[in-house]
């Protein structure tokens, strides 16, 4: 989810929370504790990296972006999900077709 939020370009923590909510249609509300723990882990795994730091209203904002490894992982994962979904849709369609 966090990787998806970063696929569009660099984002900061608060932006990711909003983006994840939007992507999930309001179902997933990331909490700050979970988010920063995940960011820390993703950074250690070198899937994301700090893009830049900005000071807004005297507070530091760190922007994260996907690394090439992160992009690859996200693409693989998305392809896998898409394949699953395709199979599921095909079978449902088949089942529906037989019923009629």
């Amino acid at each position: 989810m966090i990787l998806t939020a970063l696929a569009d370009g660099a984002q900061h923590g608060y932006g990711i929370i909003g983006d994840v909510r939007e992507i999930s249609g309001g179902r997933v509300r990331l909490r700050a504790g979970t988010l920063y723990m995940a960011l820390d882990r993703l950074r250690a795994d070198e899937l994301i990296a700090v893009d830049r730091e900005e000071v807004v209203d005297g507070r530091l904002r760190r922007y994260y972006r996907l690394t090439p490894a992160g992009t690859r992982l996200l693409a693989d994962e998305a392809a896998r999900l898409q394949a699953h979904a395709a199979v599921a849709l095909r079978r449902l369609d088949l089942a529906g077709g037989m019923a009629t």
Partner: protein, 325 residues
């Protein structure tokens, strides 16, 4: 105190659950996100929110994120968790065997315990067994955490602990089951120690040695101009701070020119307290020593070094202008 200040203080307290390194780097930002996400007029963090912060903080403390690039250290940390798991198995077995205290006693002391003795001693023995088994589990987890955070002392201490465990083998005469488990645990420890001392791990620990992230890395070795090497007295590259870093030209017999750590004694007398060879390596060591002794001074020296660099560049530019090439 306003509602907002009240809330911010509560959040700050909750952030105390996180490891210090994380807090130093991300604390203000997490706080800003928490504050931005809080509804108007709220004075206290919600229960779920507090639980989330505590859970994440504890998890990060227990399970430090080692960079992927430090593959060997990651492997060592994983092995240490495996060691902790094996020690837990050991504890469970020991608890299961407590029922057999009488058999043990017979084996070691050659006579049966009376029922009364058994009843009196069993709880005490059980407590001792549990406590003694918890110590290695705690040690594994503690070492895994400290090693993951790049603490070099943890690398040394875990090696020492492993050595002690190895020495313990001398007096061992247990039955096959526990022996196999102990051997397995020992092998895990051996593998972890091996991973810890591979060159790739050493590089990681070296890079983690700097206490202040702002001071990570070593500034470029300064050019020593003719004006800097005139005298044999300690010459601070940046004056007005104590301790500071400097330069001293010495006769070859005494080790040649050197980078030094200078302390200003009373009456303004400068004294070289530490000496390093005037090489890149020496410069790096001198810098590291300064950071360890006085991080704040190091930050000031760093700023001054940058100013000096700018000055030197300006001087070089002017010099080039004067001499046609």
């Amino acid at each position: 105190m306003t509602d907002q200040e009240h809330l911010e203080r509560a959040y700050r307290r909750l952030l105390g659950w996180y490891p210090r390194e994380f807090r130093d780097e991300n604390g203000p930002e997490v706080l800003a996100v928490l504050m931005a996400g809080a509804p108007e007029g709220r004075r206290r963090p919600g229960l779920a929110e507090s639980a989330d912060l505590i859970r994440s903080g504890l998890w990060m403390r227990l399970h430090p994120s080692v960079p992927r690039s430090a593959r060997t250290v990651r492997a060592a940390v994983r092995l240490m968790y495996a060691g902790a798991a094996l020690s837990t198995v050991n504890l469970i077995i020991a608890l299961a065997l407590i029922g057999d205290i009488n058999a043990y006693h017979l084996k070691w002391n050659g006579h049966q315990l009376t029922t009364a003795q058994l009843i009196t001693w069993r709880p005490l023995i059980a407590t001792v067994v549990i406590v003694l088994s918890l110590v290695p589990i705690a040690a594994w987890l503690w070492m895994a955490r400290a090693v993951g955070q790049g603490r070099n002392w943890a690398r040394i201490l875990s090696t020492v602990l492993f050595g002690l465990d190895t020495l313990g083998w001398a007096g061992k005469n247990a039955s096959a089951g526990p022996l196999l488990l102990a051997l397995l645990t020992w092998l895990v420890g051996a593998a972890a120690v091996w991973q810890l001392w591979r060159p790739a791990s050493s590089a990681f620990f070296k890079s983690q040695d700097f206490p202040d992230p702002a001071l990570a890395g070593i500034p470029a070795m300064p050019d020593i101009g003719p004006g800097d090497q005139a005298a044999a007295t300690p010459h601070p590259l940046v004056d007005g701070i104590s301790p500071t870093i400097g330069w001293q030209s010495r006769p070859r017999a005494k080790g040649g020119p050197a980078f030094i750590i200078i302390r200003r004694k009373r009456l303004g007398w400068l004294k070289a307290v530490q000496t390093f060879p005037a090489t890149e390596q020496g410069w790096a060591s001198a810098w590291q020593s300064l950071i360890e002794q006085h991080p704040r001074a190091a930050a000031q020296v760093l700023a001054a070094l940058k100013a000096r660099e700018v000055e030197a560049a300006r001087f070089r530019a002017r010099w080039r202008g004067l001499v046609p090439q």
